[in-house]
Amino acid sequence: MTDENKNKPINKKERMKIPRQKMPEQLPQDRVRNFKEVPYGLTPQLAMEEAKRCLECPKPPCIAGCPVEVNIPAFIKLVAEGDFIGAARKIKETNALPAICGRVCPQEEQCEQVCVLTKKHKSVGIGNLERFVADYEREHGKVEIPKLPPSTGKKIAVVGSGPAGLTVAADLAQMGHKVTIYEALHKPGGVLIYGIPEFRLPKAIVQSEVNYLMQLGVEVKTSYVVGKLDTVDELFEMGFDAIFIGTGAGLPNFMKIEGENFNGIYSANEFLTRSNLMAAYDFPNMDTPIFVGENVAVLGGGNTAMDSVRTSLRLGAKNAYIVYRRSRTEMPARIEEIHHAEQEGVQFMFLTNPIKYIGDENGWVKAMECIKMELGEPDASGRRRPVEIKGSNFVLPVDTVVVAVGNSSNPLIPQTTPGLKTNKWGNIEVDPNTQMSSRPGVFAGGDIVTGGATVILAAGAGKVAARAIHKYVMGIPFDEPKKEEAKPAVR
């Protein structure tokens, strides 16, 4: 490309001719032996080429498709012009966590799904571009702390430092409030640290996003279990004007089948926490061990199941299975993750459900009895209900099982906060316009409200909560509830 061509405006037709740029990534045979991130990220050239594909729609549907309303065409235009730092700052106007969202958001179901280009071509690689500019800004040491407004003198406690809590904290700090984050584990980041593996989201990136918040004046207290050390009411007594609860799902579901407490059977939370937060893959250099045998079955079809099964391969599993009771089309995991898992040699057993575990005399699991399923009528979720095929039982030899069939809500805070309303699943009930709970001044968002969902939905809830908390502590009345706007389907 000559300099002359570079600045020449290109028309719509030419833009549509450019193919979607592929992000280079580690080869499957290499990456199954390491925990390094799978994609390398776009190069500046690839990013500018990709950015040129954006049609700069006058009424961009992608913005409405983003739970945190990033001005997508504006930042992409800056990328096309080579102003990567400007692009990063444009995103940060509404999204405090672009390096994370660029990696783990299901863009194919959000902004990219509604991109005008998808009608005839592939959508603009919005997620890849977001990731690129955030990485560029960080790697070039250009992360700038925005000028903060004068202090309001208001104090806000944020319980939990996952995506919801980090977003609330960032937004409120930028409005001049004093924010303190309380995290139960010893490192901040919540699911971004204990749950999502290094090969999908490097922990250094989470740390740098947390550092950014600290530079905004946010205080982070780790190893602080709210509900045990202090209750929500005690936080109010300590002088906080409002409290946001973003404690996540955090209580793993098991299938309640025979033999589930045999050794070798993990919840995905435990398996991933050992590997990620405790870095057990580096045992004995690190003190926390993790057991992975030769035949590993991971139960479930979501992103957590994919993270677990891909972790098991990296920890030496010879056969790594996904055992899922429905078929491929019903799998809730991101297509990209399923694709990566397949490339790495994960074996998928669809329409299969475990019914009991078989153990040895020392209490270790050695096999799993399964039954084949078929799809019946759609259930409440709209997905076809799996039904057992009588007599189709078979035994799968396994020495490690990871149960990744979802989480229930953690009871620590609801149990110790009188007057906090929860639904029958133990999730905190909130007004969706403000995220405020039944207790005035107590807001909540993320998985503790929705049950297990995505990083970006949690961040989106955090944004809504931050706006409402600002109004609440400043004595500004909440807006009249708006009519529910059409929102793209997200799970």
Partner: protein, 286 residues
């Protein structure tokens, strides 16, 4: 942060720490536990609370060297700090006026019975405490428990001190003698707790046990600590640590406690080797 203010060796391989943790100490109640992490490479290990000095804000824990983590903790010095002391975790022991309570502690289960005995006594109970060890030199916390109990009974496996036998030898005798017992709480090695429960099953004496299985987060998130109680899976960290002893599946718990035995051995041997090597180097430098 979590500075070791005081430390002493109670018996071979068993050290008592008094750690600065004033906020936690103000909130903690008898029967709860904490999670300790030594440093950035360290495991998160659950530890029973062996005492709460609310005036000085000091937490007492007693650590027995059984592997690398406990060994390296026991080599920490006064003035050094733990990276994390998390808690108070778990549901406090249920304390009310039961009448005559028997507190039973074995080995390093003796220290955590101390705050419970204190609390039971405060609530107006008559407290009989039975503590046992393999031999006299391994018996710890005698003085503390003597002050917290109306009556302290001691057993040693080899008869070197107190009654010759196990804690259950004495417990059985109290039952046979027809003493009115309203409640028993036992903390110690799994075989001891199992034996206590077997002793009180027939006479139908309410018996609580405090379980300390393998944990990671200690807040209900991971499920490593699951135990079968009354045929149902419970998480010891959030549903316990105290459970009705007659309902606990101790055999399953024993097996689950051995989940990482091989790894623990590797880490411990590596640690002892390095430790030995280091000692030699220091010796040579002198």
């Amino acid at each position: 942060m979590f500075k070791i203010i005081d430390k002493k060796e109670l018996c071979e391989n068993v050290h008592q720490f008094r750690i600065e943790a004033s906020h936690l100490v103000q909130k903690a109640k008898a029967g709860q536990f904490v999670i300790l992490r030594k440093d950035d490479k360290g495991e998160r290990v659950p530890m029973s609370i062996g005492g709460l000095d609310k005036n000085k804000g000091l937490l007492t824990v007693v650590i027995q060297e059984v592997g690398k983590t406990s060994a390296s903790m026991n080599r920490m010095k006064i003035g050094e700090s733990f990276a994390d002391v998390v808690g108070p975790l778990g549901i406090p022991s249920h304390i009310e006026k039961f009448g005559h309570c028997i507190c039973i502690g074995g080995g390093v289960g003796i220290p955590p019975i101390f705050p419970i005995a204190q609390a039971l006594k405060m609530a107006g109970n008559r407290v009989t405490t039975i503590i046992g060890a393999r031999n006299k030199s391994l018996l710890i916390f005698e003085e503390e428990l003597s002050s917290a109990s109306d009556r302290l009974l001691i057993t040693t496996d080899d008869g070197s001190y107190g009654t010759h036998g196990f804690v259950t030898t004495v417990l059985q005798k109290l039952i046979t003698d027809g003493e009115k017992i309203d409640m028993v709480i036992a903390i110690g090695p799994v075989p001891m707790m199992k034996a206590v429960v077997n002793t009180t099953r027939e006479p139908k004496v309410k018996t609580l046990v405090s379980l300390n299985p393998i944990m990671v987060d200690g807040t209900g998130m991971c499920g490593a600590c699951r135990v079968t109680v009354g045929g149902k899976t419970k998480f010891a960290c959030v549903d316990g640590p105290d459970f009705d002893g007659h309902e606990v599946d101790f055999d399953e718990m024993t097996k689950r406690m051995k989940m990482y035995a091989k790894y623990e051995k590797v880490a411990y041997e590596k640690f002892l080797h390095n430790d030995c090597h280091l000692a030699k180097q220091i010796e040579e430098m002198r």
